[in-house]
Structure formats: structure tokens, C-alpha cells
């Protein structure tokens, strides 16, 4: 610690190292949080169900998504990214996942919500397997931290199915 510049360098290096340690401990403290989220999705209407010119099935639906994700937020949460995916099985693929809608929840106050919306992204199949298809709607969430590890989980809601004929 001999000169002004030497002490300044030493102080800044040590300060930044300790800051890195603080961020690591902050991220670890997220593991103490046990979240208890809940969600419900109702399909209000199948708007249309057609076969596209290329031969793929496409559905447009209106759904009502309501959820309480407030327990996911901690002091180290920057935002929560959620999306609704339709999951089903076909002869060709054992699992198809199609993302229908997503959103970013920036704060805990906005985490208890309901939304009435048509699908934001197109529900298109690889082929024409959707007639009478039973599918699950899964609400996925990614908890994005201010510093450290990102947690991701989901809720699977079963029991949805598509009409037997095109409309």
C-alpha cells in the first residue's frame, strides 16, 4: 500500500471481489424460497380450425388464462417470463409443443392476473393430425434473477381436445 494509485487499485479490486461474493450468496438465498403458484386455463372458443394450403392443420382459439404467481418473486427477482404451450402426441412425434402465448411479469404486484386472449402465436401442426386431438396446456415460467441462477418450472393442465372436423 505504497502510493495513491496502489491503494486505489487494491481497494477497487477487493471491493469488486467482495461484490461478486455478495451476488453469489444472494443467488443462493433464492433456494430458500418455496414457491406455490397456481394457474387455470379455460378455452372459451375455437375460432377456426382449417387445413392450410401446404397441408398443415391450424387452429385459432380464445382462452382465459388466470394465475397467481406471486410466490415466485423474491428480492432477487428481476422478472418472470411465462408462456402457455399446447402439448400433444402424434404418430410421427411423441411430443409436440406449440407455444401459444407468452408474457413478461415485471413485478410481484402484476403476478396475480387473468387475461382473455386469442393465441398470440399460431397453433400449426406438422401435418394434419389435429382433428379430435387431445392435448395438454402447460404454463411454463422462467424466474429471471437480478443476479445468479434462473429457475424454470411448469404446471400441466390436462383435458383439452380439438373438434373432430374442420370449421
Amino acid at each position: 500500500m505504497h502510493s495513491f494509485g496502489y491503494r486505489l487499485n487494491g481497494l477497487l479490486t477487493f471491493a469488486v471481489t467482495i461484490l461478486a461474493l455478495m451476488c453469489a450468496i444472494t443467488s443462493l438465498s433464492d433456494n430458500f424460497n418455496t414457491p406455490s403458484p397456481s394457474a387455470e386455463i379455460k378455452i372459451m372458443n375455437i375460432n377456426w380450425f382449417q387445413k392450410q394450403p401446404q397441408g398443415h392443420d391450424e387452429v385459432s382459439l380464445t382462452m382465459n388464462v388466470s394465475a397467481d404467481l406471486q410466490s415466485l418473486f423474491t428480492w432477487n427477482t428481476k422478472q418472470v417470463f411465462i408462456f402457455v404451450a399446447a402439448e400433444y402426441e402424434t404418430r410421427k412425434n411423441s411430443l409436440n409443443q406449440v407455444s401459444l402465448w407468452d408474457a413478461i411479469i415485471p413485478a410481484k404486484e402484476h403476478a396475480k392476473f387473468w387475461i382473455h386472449t386469442s393465441n398470440k402465436y399460431r397453433f400449426v401442426d406438422q401435418g394434419n393430425n389435429l382433428r379430435g386431438k387431445k392435448f395438454n396446456l402447460t404454463l411454463h415460467w422462467h424466474v429471471m434473477p437480478k443476479t445468479g441462477k434462473m429457475f424454470a418450472d411448469k404446471i400441466v393442465l390436462t383435458g383439452y381436445s380439438l373438434p373432430e372436423e374442420y370449421r
Binding site: 500500500m1 505504497h2 495513491f4 491503494r7 486505489l8 487494491g10 481497494l11 477487493f14 471491493a15 467482495i18 461484490l19 461474493l21 455478495m22 450468496i25 444472494t26 438465498s29 428480492w75 432477487n76 437480478k146 443476479t147
Partner: protein, 124 residues
């Protein structure tokens, strides 16, 4: 202010002033030194203060549930530590080393070092 009045004012205020602090009259900054004890003290103060502020900041942030609070408390702590330990404050110079005056040194010449040849033995 002339150099001599400046010097005498500073020694009046308690700042150790020695002939080594010879400065041209145009110099804007005052260059003081830290002695060895002071350097050690500065380093210890810096390490302890930073650790204390880090712990305080984390606890404050966790209890208040605010990441921003943690960062602000820590940033304030780093700045305060910098202000205390980086500049050459007088309390870091309480055990100054008094170098020998040049005129005094001339009266006691350095002993002559006799050059002796040394052989370095090889280990086999």
C-alpha cells in the same frame, strides 16, 4: 504564499514537513507521505471496513427485500472506505522516518566494500 510561509503554516497545523517535501512554488497539489506503519494501518482499515460494509449491505438488502438497497449501502461503504484509506492523511504519518540531513551524511562517509572473488561450487 511563498514556500517558506506555506511550510511553516503546515507544520503549525501538525502536518509533518521535512526537507524532502521541497516543492516548486507552482505545484498545485501537496505531496505528503505515509510511513510504513501508516501503510499497514491503511490496508487493515480498508479490508475490515469493506468486509463490514459488505455484511451490513447484504443484511440490509435481505431484511428489506430490496436488492437496490444492498447495492446502495455497499457503494456508499466503498466510497467512504476510499475516502478514509486512499489519501495521505496525517494520522497515517505518525511514525515518520527521519532521513539523515545531507550535510550530516558527508561527515560520515560510507564504509568501502572490499571486492572479494567468490567461487561457486558445482554439485556433482
Amino acid at each position: 504564499m511563498s514556500y517558506f510561509t506555506q511550510n511553516s503554516l503546515l507544520s503549525f497545523l501538525g502536518y509533518p514537513v521535512s526537507l524532502q517535501t521541497f516543492l516548486p512554488l507552482s505545484a498545485p497539489s501537496l505531496h505528503f507521505t505515509m510511513d510504513w506503519q501508516g501503510q499497514k494501518l491503511a490496508e487493515q482499515i480498508m479490508q475490515i471496513m469493506l468486509l463490514v460494509f459488505a455484511v451490513t449491505a447484504f443484511v440490509a438488502g435481505y431484511v428489506l427485500g430490496s436488492f437496490q438497497m444492498m447495492v446502495l449501502v455497499y457503494a456508499g461503504g466503498v466510497t467512504l472506505t476510499g475516502l478514509i484509506t486512499i489519501p495521505n492523511w496525517p494520522f497515517f504519518n505518525r511514525h515518520p522516518l527521519n532521513w539523515l540531513d545531507p550535510s550530516e551524511a558527508e561527515k560520515h562517509p560510507k564504509p568501502q566494500v572490499t571486492v572479494s572473488s567468490k567461487k561457486k561450487g558445482f554439485k556433482r
